[in-house]
Symmetry: C2
């Protein structure tokens, strides 16, 4: 019964985690509305990867939503500050949060996804946040997600009318190794994805930034070759 398929909004960045989430949602037979944010990131291979992934998984609709967070500054991912390579003290603030943190990014992205979800009457919003093998961003923690979900239901007409929204975070307690294994079991080709914060060339990863190192560690632990190209891929 195609008409009665449950709808889901899925945040897709073109990275390893969100691609795995998309595969999971597809596998659970949701009708998928994918949203990717063009927020002034330093390079747009991410957007290309997101398009590829959404086309591969035959989503019902894919929106690239433009929102210029660069006008606020405050992050190495959207400003001219260099992205730190080879994890060291200077890239981490006193609380352990790295300078690649984008202020309130997940709150902004999830709010916009919620606006779309309410319009669609899609009560499931999927996001690939992870609180195990992650960079220490506050907006990836379970307590943040739980609080956002509560806020989302208080904020909206649909929430008020008792069709509660749920924020689905199927990866939140998995290691990177487990995420990769899950994705592979669902047939994900990770060659489509991009992870690097600072790609030295289109579709080539540096192998040194925090994101590359977490990814490489995951593939190593899963005992699988990472199909993407690296400039350097020994883990420090």
């Amino acid at each position: 019964m195609e008409l009665n398929k449950k709808k889901a909004v899925v945040l897709v960045s073109g990275g390893l985690d969100s691609t795995t989430v998309l595969a999971l949602a597809k596998n659970q037979n949701y009708e998928i509305y994918a949203i990717t944010f063009d927020y002034g990131q330093r390079h747009n291979y991410e957007l290309e990867a997101a398009k590829k992934v959404c086309s591969h998984f035959e989503v019902k609709k894919h929106i690239i939503f433009k929102i210029d967070l660069r006008q606020f500054g405050g992050s190495a991912l959207t400003s001219e500050t260099p992205v730190p390579l080879d994890r060291n003290e200077s890239s981490i603030s006193s609380s352990g949060i790295p300078i690649t943190y984008v202020p309130a990014r997940n709150t902004v992205f999830m709010s916009i996804a919620l606006a779309w979800a309410e319009t669609l009457k899609a009560y499931h919003i999927f996001i690939g946040v992870n609180a195990v093998d992650y960079s220490g961003y506050p907006d990836c923690r379970p307590e943040f997600i739980e609080s956002f979900q509560k806020t989302a239901n208080l904020a909206t007409k649909e929430g008020t009318e008792k069709n509660s929204f749920t924020i689905e975070t199927p990866l939140i307690n998995l290691t990177k190794k487990e995420i990769i294994q899950k994705g592979l079991s669902l047939g994900v080709d990770y060659k489509m994805t991009t992870t690097c914060y600072s790609p030295p060339a289109p579709f080539k990863a540096c192998g040194r930034c925090d994101a590359c190192q977490l990814r490489l560690k995951g593939f190593k632990e899963a005992n699988v070759n990472d199909p993407i190209q690296y400039e350097r891929n020994n883990i420090s």
Copy 2:
């Protein structure tokens, strides 16, 4: 000590409520960073009014933030659905929420304000929501604001590092009459503001939409003339 002035981010729409909030924040000696959203509303007199108001109150910085919520649809304020005039059944959904509600609008706007506030280290975010003489939007209720504040502190690096954000809603429990009296006592000239959902001509209000009727009722109860021009101003 100009250097030690507390910073505040103030959401300014160009309407009566947010202008009063701006006057209040100014009166409390905050250094003000004002943000106005260009979200695809049907007419942009609002943006003109917001600029006028921010210039009058000599804010430190005023950003007009573009975010296209029209691509989602779902509201009479951003789509081609006519705005209802003369409050009637058909303009209200089963929960009492009118069709001028924009899905998750305040959540989206407050999240973006939070991103800017975190970058600025401005721990006070002012918004002119009101839960007395209002249109019944769920994202104006105290329980929503409280939940959003909690989410904001869990979401952010600054919140995590113990510099808690507060969402300041000085109008939340006031009647429209009291809001107007408060503003007048602070010298606000309400001629600068715009309220109408469906202005028949630039800077002229219809006098019939829900927003106009709430405004007119407030001025009537405060026993003060509303200085803006109306096409029709008898309250039904």
